[in-house]
């Protein structure tokens, strides 16, 4: 039965009116994860309304559907997404696994082509002009392509065996797209690929990588916030304390010394990194995170105004379309990267928390969906989806409330923009398609 199904499934495209197709169709509708789909439409719908609120102008009221404003255009992107969803669900789910590498390769090619032909827009060469005023940002598509390729790779190797060559291959798959994207001068989009580390952690890489990565980030941020001398004292005391608690560490004093030198060296290299490696606008974003009040009209403007807008919302918010800060251009990029400000100001703490809750719900649901996959490919892909959404959520919301540096990446499903919406729709609905057919993988 299982074998037959597999054969039927794999040859489904070419055959019409086979029992398998009927079985597949009904299976799909039975197994499709309506909860995730509901969350998707909830977020997209709320996003659409808030895009309208962000561009709404009380002395020039334009219909929410009008194509003159972002909310009207977003409606077109949403409608196109519906077609995309149908296509994604109708296509044989196995295509995603089988064609993972070709898709990945095609996207890499597209990224390179973009780099070669794109005209710079605001210093970034990431937009591909398709003609007719339609532009595409291939960097957005690279996320799902890389997720597919990495998952495919993970389904063929066993990460737990700590095979160095395999780990390097995986690293190459993951880092090739962001490398090209950085060349396109879209550092924000490139940073997103760091999210894959969470998925790989689930698939078996050493937790040390996560811990070391987290520690490096922590030391980096702390160096910016705390005087160096205190940090050096703190790390010395910490190591001494650990040794005092466990005498056995004394025997590994060389490792301890090396660790100390490493951390102190890093503390001193942060300044060099910030001042000499980062570009001026990136330096400012880091300065804005540390102390936006230092220059509230300059590099601190976005963060200061964003916090003012959100902070002025209060507990219940000012009400839909009643915001002042987000209406009158105080907050830049309101309908795209700073869309969360509109929620914060108009819906208050209650609305913001509900939105955060929706994202939490979605991410945990995606993890649940991933966990119930029988194939490594499906599960790994599910974790990639959750990780990418999480990273976007973390950085996007974090920057609006002054907890993360300003990085121009959108809030998934919510921010205005076709490339972003489609990329997340593809990302999520490939998972939903795989999940809907999970029973067919039983026999594998």
């Amino acid at each position: 039965m299982g074998v037959e199904q597999k054969i039927l499934g794999s040859s489904r495209i070419g055959m019409s009116a086979t029992p398998g197709r009927h079985a597949s169709g009904s299976h799909m509708l039975q197994n499709i994860d309506w909860v995730t789909i509901l969350l998707y439409f909830l977020l997209v719908g709320l996003g659409w309304m808030n895009i309208y609120a962000a561009v709404y102008s009380p002395d020039n009221v334009v219909n929410i559907m009008s194509f003159d404003i972002n909310s009207g255009k977003q409606l077109v992107w949403i409608a196109a997404s519906l077609i995309l969803i149908i296509v994604l669900l109708v296509v044989d789910y196995k295509v995603y696994e089988h064609l993972a590498y070709p898709i990945y390769g095609a996207i890499i090619l597209l990224l390179l082509v973009t780099l070669a032909v794109a005209k710079p827009i605001a210093g970034s060469r990431s937009w591909l002009d398709l003609g007719g005023g339609i532009r595409l940002q291939p960097a957005e598509l690279a996320k799902f392509a890389t997720a597919l390729a990495a998952s495919k790779f993970l389904s063929t190797v066993n990460l737990r065996q700590q095979n160095f060559a395999d780990q390097m291959k995986l690293a190459a798959i993951t880092l090739l797209p962001p490398a090209i994207i950085i060349l396109q001068n879209e550092t924000g989009s490139a940073l997103v690929f760091a999210a894959f580390i969470l998925a790989y952690f689930r698939e078996g890489i050493s937790p040390l990588i996560l811990i070391i990565g987290g520690s490096v980030a922590a030391v980096f941020i702390l160096t910016l916030l705390v005087p160096k001398l205190y940090l050096i004292l703190a790390i010395t005391v910490l190591l001494a304390l650990a040794t005092w608690l466990d005498y056995r560490l004394l025997r590994r004093y060389k490792t301890m010394m090396a660790l100390w030198v490493l951390v102190v060296g890093m503390i001193f290299s942060v300044d060099f990194f910030v001042n000499n490696v980062l570009q001026p606008h990136q330096q400012n974003r880091i300065k804005a995170l540390i102390n936006p009040e230092a220059d509230p009209l300059g590099f601190g403007w976005n963060v200061t105004q964003s916090k003012i807008a959100i902070g002025s919302g209060g507990f219940w918010g000012k009400g839909f379309l009643e915001g002042t800060q987000t209406k009158f251009d105080f907050v830049p990029e309101q309908s795209t990267d700073f869309i969360f400000c509109t929620i914060g100001e108009e819906q208050g703490w209650v609305g913001s928390t509900v939105l955060i809750g929706l994202f939490m719900f979605l991410m945990i649901r995606v993890v649940m969906v991933a966990e119930r996959q029988k194939s490594v490919f499906g599960r790994a892909y599910g974790y990639c989806v959750a990780s990418i959404i999480f990273f976007h959520f973390l950085v996007n919301v974090g920057m609006t409330i002054g907890l993360a540096p300003v990085v121009g990446i959108p809030l998934p499903f919510f921010s205005y923009g076709g490339s972003s919406l489609w990329s997340f729709t593809i990302l999520l609905f490939i998972l939903i398609a795989i999940d809907a057919n999970r029973s067919q993988d039983l026999a594998r």
Binding site: D329, W349, M360, V367, L403
Partner: protein, 608 residues
């Protein structure tokens, strides 16, 4: 497999941890920390003060004295003012090129995005010239507001002026309702009636975008307040008479104050030299003000209420007579010889056989003897003490005429003048060390006396009323159908009974009919004018001419005091001016053109 599966909890834990941190952080900035709400308000809500129309001022016949005229400020938003043709701007505004650059720099220093005044108080003509060209100057626009306007250029000293509130006033809690840049009455009626004229300010809360551009009212104007226009005032001034007085006094120095005796209403209030009140409304306010202030003729000096150090001269003999009559020192028929050994008499005349003749001839020895009898009544055997007692008694009565006290006119900075007192002489000479021979010059209105022109006019009103006055005032109605303040409705009776006024009035009629005041006579018109000339000794130069009068003798309609500085005898300059003013007021015309020409010729200034 199992231990890896547990990692899903770690991942979900990270998700939930981040969500919780975000929710807590949001709770802090949205609910706990209120500074963001304030920042949002200062960000996006701008309060715009609605300036009320300042009250207008009319004359007693409904002619407009003070109005609000539009003025135009040229504003600039530096951000939008790019690639400005400064050369053309300089020509348009008639400013030096450096000045244009300097002003642009100042505006930029104030704010790059907010508008500031580039050029204040353009006149309507300048506005018209510039407006059409403004299209070539992006970032420049015209802001219209109102300033005070004086259609008749008259009455400057009484009207006063308004100007921006001073930093010192702003610190004073009495001006707590004012803001920097507000206009406030600085002198005259504008200052005295500030609380009525200013009206009530309104505030409109407007939402502005990041560039300060208005985006509609906040909460549909729920917190807005309307401005209430200031109250209009009706003055007691007769504009025609006022302007005629200024016409006659133009080029002279001195005061003309005319009062309607029955009501205490000031009909004319001339302080010469005078200035065009419009000088203080335009953009050159500061320059004009400083120029007037440093002027040798003391144009800004508000003479009718402030020129208090000059003695009244012979007109004071009327007061001496009245007090002496009341005290029973003399009767209307008392005569004294014109004994020139006591004090010189300026006019050669026969010995006055009664009071009226003494007044008519302004006989100095007569009043020397009257005043001696007044202060030396024999209340003490000690001459010194007797003089002191007598002077104190005299002073008590003389001050009931409004001498030596502030009358309380509704104008600021009124001076009370000087009336000699025993204490004053005690201070100078020592107690019991002065007697009548020390103070006798008071008898003829010289010495330790200082009377303002307003007090002189009020004195005339008192005699015209035969014994009382109503505090002179310049505003008869607050609001168009209102009443004057209550203190301007009650009579102030002098210490002298009405019956004693008759011989004095008769004497004054004789002064005009056949004495020193003949230049004020309107006999041909059938108007009997009562008056008295005076010459105030001036140690600094030529004496000041004084003439006081009221008319008609029965049922007086106007009381007037004319004070011309450095004009010698009152008869030559002050009397004709008073006569012309009375004629103008009573008949609304002037028949004595020759007299008018004489006054305007100012030749009296050259007579010694």
């Amino acid at each position: 497999m199992n231990y890896l599966e547990n990692r899903k909890y770690v991942i979900q834990g990270i998700f939930i941890l981040v969500g919780a941190i975000f929710a807590l952080r949001l709770f802090y900035i949205q609910v706990v920390d209120s500074s963001y709400k304030q920042a949002a308000e200062t960000n996006a809500i701008k309060s715009v003060v609605q300036y009320p129309f300042r009250g207008l001022i009319y004359d007693r016949n409904g002619k407009l004295l003070v109005q609000n005229t539009p003025v135009y400020d040229l504003m600039v938003v530096p951000k939008e003012a790019k690639n400005i043709d400064t050369l053309r701007l300089q020509q348009l505004l008639d400013l030096p090129l450096e000045e244009v650059r300097e002003r642009l720099k100042k505006a930029r220093a104030y704010s790059y995005v907010q508008p500031s005044a580039f050029y204040q108080k353009l006149s309507t003509q300048e506005f018209a010239r510039i407006q059409d060209n403004l299209i070539d100057f992006p970032g420049f626009y015209i802001n219209a507001r109102t300033a005070r306007g004086y259609p008749h250029q008259s009455l400057a000293h009484a009207l006063g002026y308004i100007a921006e509130i001073s930093p010192r006033q702003l610190e004073d809690s009495a001006y707590s309702g004012y803001r920097p840049g507000d206009y406030i009455g600085k002198s005259g009626i504008e200052l005295e009636y500030e609380q009525y004229l200013m009206g009530k300010r309104g505030v409109k809360y407007k939402m502005v975008n990041v560039r300060g551009v208005e985006k509609g009212s906040f909460k549909d104007g729920a917190y807005d307040t309307l401005s209430v226009a200031g109250k209009n005032l009706v003055s007691t001034i007769d504009l025609d008479l006022q302007q005629y007085g200024e016409f006659l006094m133009n080029g002279a120095k001195g005061s003309v104050v005319a009062i309607e005796p029955k009501t205490g209403e000031v009909l004319a209030y001339v302080s010469a030299p005078f200035y065009d009140p419009n000088l203080f409304t335009g953009k050159d306010y500061g320059k004009n003000y400083m120029a007037l202030l440093s002027e040798p003729n003391k144009t800004m000096f508000n003479r009718p209420v402030m020129a208090s150090s000059n003695p009244p001269g012979s007109i004071f003999k009327l007061a001496q007579a009245l007090v002496a009559l009341q005290d029973g020192i003399i009767t209307p028929n008392t005569g004294f010889p014109c004994n020139q050994s006591l004090v010189k008499c300026s006019h050669a005349h026969a010995a006055p056989t009664n009071l009226s003749i003494a007044i008519q001839t302004s006989c100095n020895p007569y009043f020397y003897q009257v005043f001696r009898a007044e202060v030396n009544q024999g209340k003490s055997s000690n001459t010194f003490k007797d003089t002191s007692i007598g002077l104190a008694n005299w002073r008590e009565q003389i001050t009931t005429f409004g001498f030596g006290v502030e009358l309380g006119i509704d104008l600021p900075n009124e001076k009370k003048g000087i009336v000699a007192s025993p204490a004053m002489y005690d201070r100078v000479y020592g107690q019991n060390r002065w007697k009548y021979s020390t103070i006798y010059s008071l008898s003829i209105g010289q010495g330790e006396l200082g009377v303002t022109p307003l007090q002189m006019a009020n004195f005339m009103a008192t005699i015209a009323n035969r014994g009382y006055y109503i505090t002179p005032h310049i505003i008869r109605s607050i609001g168009e159908n209102g009443k004057p303040k209550p203190e301007y409705q009650q009579r102030h009776f002098t210490a002298v009974e009405a019956r004693h006024f008759t011989p004095v009035v008769d004497g004054m009629a004789a002064v005009v009919k056949s004495g020193t005041g003949r230049n004020a006579s309107l006999e041909k018109l059938g108007i009997e004018v009562c008056g008295k000339t005076g010459t105030a000794e001036n140690p600094q130069g030529k004496d000041h001419a004084v003439f006081v009068a009221f008319a008609p003798k029965d049922d007086p309609k106007i009381a007037i005091a004319v004070y011309v500085e450095n004009a010698g005898f009152g008869a030559q300059s002050a009397a004709p001016i008073a006569g012309l003013m009375i004629e103008k007021y009573l008949t609304d015309s002037v028949s004595r053109k020759r007299m008018e020409d004489w006054v305007l010729s100012r030749e009296y200034l050259n007579i010694d």
